[in-house]
């Protein structure tokens, strides 16, 4: 299996300590365009697309493997192995934060630190836990998402009819394809993202961890971020005075500064090999 092609891996920087950026649900590696370049002078910057998103290899999509976040975590570990990445600083947004948590638990020796932007271990509320959403909200999200793909695709009958033979090329051509995520994949990824419960995994994280929380985030609230902070042993949390779920887009400079400050304190720099 060609992991490089499967996950559309892009490398930059001088080498040395790797910094692996993982995008969240609904997008691809281009999400990091305002943040990743700031580290390319000191780190080996590794960008990738989750399978099904961006320019990943759609033929590698497997409904069973990706029916849980574990499948994505396995991909992250395979990426580390394929590139022989060690002492990885993993910067992960949204759902990828939990993917990073799972990967770091499974392969603790690979990861030097985790930086989690807008993490949520569970979106749906539960006994004594306010995730911010109800199950019905998530079902409506799936419907809305489908409407959107359908709406944009409405001149493309084969997509509506669902001719699987023609799908990938068509998606490529859609004007607003939301980072070219395949509609069927997006549907399953959304379900996996918003219906997972990783609260019990947090306590097993051993890597130094920074949580970057946007002050007004309607997806992963500050309370949820604090929950993650309280349950990952020894973790740190920075609340940025910005709004929205994507501080790396809305406040890239503040995000970069927070990551830098954290790494300076916790991660011994490893020079280029």
């Amino acid at each position: 299996m060609d992991v490089i092609r499967r996950n559309n891996i892009m490398l930059s920087g001088p080498g040395g300590q790797p910094m692996l950026f993982a995008h969240g649900y609904g997008c691809d590696q281009s999400m990091w365009r305002f943040v990743a370049p700031a580290f390319a002078d000191r780190y080996k910057v590794v960008l990738f697309d989750h399978v099904g998103a961006g320019r990943s290899d759609l033929s590698a999509y497997d409904r069973v493997r990706y029916a849980s976040l574990g499948g994505y975590a396995a991909d992250v570990i395979e990426i580390c192995e394929a590139l022989d990445l060690r002492h990885v600083v993993m910067v992960a947004h949204s759902v990828s934060a939990m993917i990073a948590v799972l990967a770091s638990i499974r392969a603790p020796d690979r990861f030097a630190a985790l930086v989690l932007l807008g993490p949520s271990p569970r979106y749906i509320g539960a006994e004594g836990y306010d995730g911010g959403f109800k199950r019905a909200d998530i079902e409506q999200l799936l419907e809305l998402q489908e409407s959107n793909y359908l709406g944009w695709a409405n001149t493309l009958a084969p997509l509506i009819i669902g001719d699987p033979e023609q799908r990938p090329e068509l998606v490529e051509e859609l004007r607003n394809s939301f980072c070219r995520t395949d509609p069927e994949v997006a549907r399953q990824f959304a379900a996996v993202t918003f219906l997972s419960d990783n609260r019990d995994d947090l306590i097993h994280v051993r890597a130094p961890t920074l949580i970057i929380q946007s002050e007004f985030d309607s997806i992963a609230s500050t309370a949820v971020g604090r929950y993650v902070h309280e349950h990952i042993p020894g973790s740190e949390m920075v609340v940025l005075p910005v709004s929205g779920h994507c501080p790396h887009l809305s406040a890239p400079q503040e995000t970069i500064a927070a990551i830098d400050a954290f790494l300076a304190r916790h991660v011994r720099q490893i020079g280029p090999r």
């Binding site: 281009s30 809305l144 997806i219 809305s250």
Partner: protein
């Protein structure tokens, strides 16, 4: 321009445009909003100014906005026609299509986002119907694909237009081979005048049922029952024909077996009844009874009872209502108990045991029935002096009982059906007394215990029936202390 105040016109264009207009800062706070949107939302402008753009949306919409819309807008500068719903206090959400453009300042940083919102109520309804239709079509397609029946759509001329997997299995031909080809390729009788007659009936709106012989790709025949139904066009003309074909060979075989079974069961049940009646009438006539008559009556009643019990048990098994009362038993003791009543002078009946006892978890009554069936068969199908050997052992996770006779044996071609319901080995009728249910019941009881039953046999040399039963799972944790 005459009679038009441009300022007023521009104001009207903005405030009462046939769409919502709104501008917000990169941090989300609304700086301008028009009257149309304020009316749609049922909220005064003063209330809207300064609030967050994403908060105009329903909660699921906000999820979508934050995860997909806002990032995309930030990265590519504009997004067109995204579907959302506006949250309206005290009213149903309003479906809208939102288009946004991001304006940058001199340094290239986002300064303002301007958006149009169009009412998409009708469009959303059509889309939902389209989606539902697609889902139903997918579900239906899954049913058709999974069906064991051959399901196809034919044109008026009998040309195959769709072909499911069931048809592929039934006729041994691929979709590519069959599409556009006449259905008479696989159903040779459906051609010429016979096909015309079928089409005539379909034209009048009738459904047609035909039992016919199909032709597989390999040249073999297959008995099929074919149901044809017309699809009428706009002018009530015959537009297409749906065809569902069912392989009837299995059903016919079962029907035949059931008929044979009923005849045989009647015969088998009548024999003991006749014997009982004969002896009873004799006693009545003589006004006295002999010890031997009464013994015969009791024996025959017991036989009758066994036959009826087998029938009931078989019907229970068929209905999946076989209840087992599991307990831990010593298999060796159970085998000895089953062998004892069958021992006769003149026959060597050996029981070989590896070890003193072998514990199994089983239903005592049903296990006795299984052993009884197999041992009785061994006795029944071998000469009065032919030795019978029983081996009891445990191997791995299973206990094993093997019963070997040196009797007439079973022809190789009969072995696959040996454990089927109603099956009796041809030519074995002379020795057999029973309903042909014994081995069927045996297999089903052993299956229900999680075991297996197998047979090795050679005509003229004898048979070995082997059953295995799972040994109880040892609780290994308790041994660690």
């Amino acid at each position: 321009m005459i009679g038009v105040n441009i300022d007023l016109a521009v104001d009207g264009l903005f405030e009462d445009a046939p769409c919502g207009l709104v501008a917000h800062r990169p941090n989300g706070s609304i700086v301008v909003v028009n009257r149309t949107l304020s009316t749609w939302l049922g909220r005064p402008k003063t209330d809207l100014l300064g609030s967050a753009f994403a908060d105009l949306l329903t909660l699921p919409g906000r999820l979508f906005y934050e995860n997909q819309y806002a990032p995309l807008l930030r990265m590519q500068g504009s997004v067109q026609d995204a579907a959302f719903e506006l949250a309206r206090p005290g009213q149903a959400p309003l479906p809208v299509l939102i288009t946004s453009v991001q304006q940058l300042d001199g340094a290239g940083h986002p300064r303002l986002v301007v958006s149009t919102l169009f009412d998409a109520t009708d469009r959303r309804r059509y889309e939902r119907e389209l989606l539902n239709a697609r889902r139903r079509a997918e579900q239906l397609a899954a049913v058709v694909t999974a069906s064991g029946d051959a399901i196809m759509l034919l044109g008026r001329d009998g040309d195959v237009r769709t072909w499911n997997a069931g048809a592929g299995r039934m006729f041994g031909r691929s979709e590519a081979e069959m599409l556009q080809h006449p259905v008479s390729t696989i159903l040779p009788e459906l051609r010429g005048p016979k096909w015309d007659a079928v089409v005539d009936r379909l034209r009048s709106g009738e459904r047609v049922q035909v039992d016919t012989r199909g032709l597989r790709g390999s040249g073999e025949g297959v008995d099929v029952s074919v149901a044809l139904a017309p699809h009428m066009g706009l002018l009530n003309e015959l537009d297409a024909i749906s065809l569902i074909g069912r392989d009837v060979a299995a059903r016919r075989k079962l029907e035949r077996l059931q008929q044979e079974f009923l005849a045989m069961a009647g015969h088998e049940l009548r024999n003991p009844v006749a014997a009982i009646r004969g002896h009873a009438q004799l006693a009545q006539r003589r006004q006295s009874y002999s010890e031997s008559s009464v013994r015969t009556i009791v024996q025959q009643t017991e036989l009758l009872n066994r036959l009826i019990e087998d029938l009931l048990l078989a019907s229970q098994i068929e209905a999946d209502r076989l209840d087992l009362r599991m307990e831990v038993l010593d298999l060796v003791a159970e085998v000895q108990a089953a062998v004892a009543p069958l021992r006769t002078d003149g026959r060597e009946f050996t029981v070989e045991v590896a070890g003193t006892s072998i514990e199994v978890t089983a239903d005592r009554h049903r296990l006795a029935q299984v052993l009884g069936n197999l041992l009785t068969n061994a006795v029944k199908y071998s000469g009065p002096a032919a030795p019978i050997r029983v081996e009891v052992a445990s191997a791995g996770a299973m206990a094993r009982v093997a019963i070997s006779d040196q009797g007439i044996g079973i022809p190789a071609e009969s072995i696959p059906q040996l454990f089927d319901r109603f099956y009796r080995v041809r030519g074995a009728a002379a020795q057999s007394r029973g309903l042909g249910l014994g081995l069927y019941i045996t297999r089903r009881i052993v299956d229900a215990h999680g075991g297996t039953v197998t047979v090795r046999s050679e005509v003229g040399r004898g048979s070995t029936f082997t059953i295995t039963l799972p040994l109880p799972v040892r609780d290994t944790t308790s041994n660690l202390h």
